[in-house]
Symmetry: C2
Subunit: 262 residues, 2 copies
DNA sequence: CGCGAGAACTTGTCTAGACGACTAGCTCTC
DNA sequence: GAGAGCTAGTCGTCTAGACAAGTTCTCGCG
């Protein structure tokens, strides 16, 4: 109530055409944008807002749900509604898989995370053979069976990324690629040892709202989209040797690409 | 009600811990995923769902609002709630601004759209001098004043992208870059004529939920995130000569990058 | 002093109803 | 036949409650 009595929020405009719950959302949004509610701060409780604006609770909740779907606030049962803090962002350089950066011990994820002072973890590791969905199959030159490597990445305990690598089975079966730990330099190093010198990667970037399963796996709060990145690795013969399907929490990532102007 | 009597939607599980409105959303989501409600199809009306599930209208609306925030459905006042059709996707190749692709008459947007059989339009064209926000200023080497070129792109009447180019004022003032129509090959061709041969571009890709202003400008339906792309162009001297800040409707775009493996 | 029970406060879920605004199809009139 | 107006159906907004479930703090008991 300190927030209200100190005048952060004003009154409604009864002459406006704009719906009451939108006016309330507008006021709170503006207060957040202008820093009158700071990151991580608790908003006035629903009942305080009900009293302040003189509306019913559903109207207030409607307003708050708008802000939640915009990713501005998140609610915590029994505690309150809070201005959503922006998590530290991980920057993915486009050349992170280039041969010259291939670290001989750790994965790109581990190296980058430690450089940024965060604690990296990988869990839900699963390696199995399976029949690919048509899209993956097509990208791998109509492969009928593939080796799938699934894993989830966490930073300081927070899940930020879920990735599945698909490799043609005839290429990966029986090699260290089919082991949970693919060894130093990762599967790209193993592929090159097998004679598949990598030539280039294709990356496709999309953004969308997460499925319920993704919300659960990445522990996403509402109003956070995901970035879907599908990377295909080609060897010098022009054969697609790996497709990696990655889903990232969009509030944790910036993708950085450098492109020649020729 | 044909939809209901034909058994597309089942009954609630009263023993489940899952909230009733979530169960309803789950059922409708599953029906959409499995194609029992097709793209563009109308869902049963709220009152039909109220009757079918034996719950109050707010509970049904709550369920529908979940699906809406997931981008699965969109409601139309007075008409009904519809399975959101997936718009045709525009694929942006990472080399679309490369010199060798610079078309001597039309913009990259126009060329690509016409190749895809769509009708491209550009509106809200505005060119003015202004003081940049700190982030833009920093990217342009602490430029104190810039030339800003704003425009909105539409495909077949639908707004899909809003972009602002910023150029250092000392570089652009008085040139054709400061005109509404920058001439054949666009501002990159003009920059090279002015002696700033382009060397490379940096692109930063983010995804987030749109602000209310962006919802309006891009006519976004709820549950559609935006892709934010910030491109910086550098000349061969290493000077940043342009920053382009682009906001795209995420359901209309795929970004495609090709990266060398060296 | 430690700790458990409880009170007070928070958000989550749900009901039952009211009225408004928009759409589409129908009918009636000109 | 064309247009105006009516009407039924749809979603949009809002009220006034109720109970559930999670959190935090206090207070009294041992």
């Amino acid at each position: 109530m300190a927030a209200l009595s100190s005048g952060i929020l004003g009154a409604l405009d009864p002459t406006s055409d704009r719906a009451v719950f939108r006016q309330i959302a507008d006021q709170i949004r503006e207060a957040i944008d202008k820093g009158r509610f700071k990151e991580g701060a608790k908003l006035p409780s629903e009942s305080e807002l009900v009293e302040h604006f003189g509306v019913s609770r559903m109207t207030v909740r409607n307003a708050l749900s708008i802000l939640q779907s915009e990713g501005l606030v998140s609610s915590e049962h029994g505690k309150g509604v809070f201005v959503r803090p922006r998590p530290p962002v991980r920057r993915l350089a486009s050349d992170r898989f280039a041969r010259r950066h291939r670290d001989q011990g750790k994965s790109a994820f581990t190296v980058e995370a430690e450089a940024a002072g965060s604690k990296p973890e990988v869990d839900s590791l699963e390696v199995r053979e399976e029949k690919p969905v048509p899209d993956i199959s097509a990208r791998l030159g109509s492969a009928r069976k593939v080796l799938a490597r699934r894993r989830r990445y966490l930073l300081d305990g927070r899940p930020v990324e879920f990735a599945v690598s698909y490799l043609p089975l005839d290429l990966a079966r029986g090699t260290q690629i089919a082991e949970p730990n693919p060894g130093p330099g990762g599967i790209y190093a193993r592929l090159e040892e097998l004679g598949h010198r990598l030539d280039h990667f294709d990356e496709e970037v999309r953004a969308r709202m997460p499925s319920p399963a993704e919300v659960k796996t990445l522990r996403l709060s509402s109003g956070v989209p995901v970035i879907s990145l599908i990377r295909t690795a080609y060897d010098t013969e022009g054969r697609a040797v790996e497709v990696c399907d990655t889903v990232m929490a969009a509030d944790a990532y910036v993708l950085a690409y450098q492109l020649p102007a020729n």
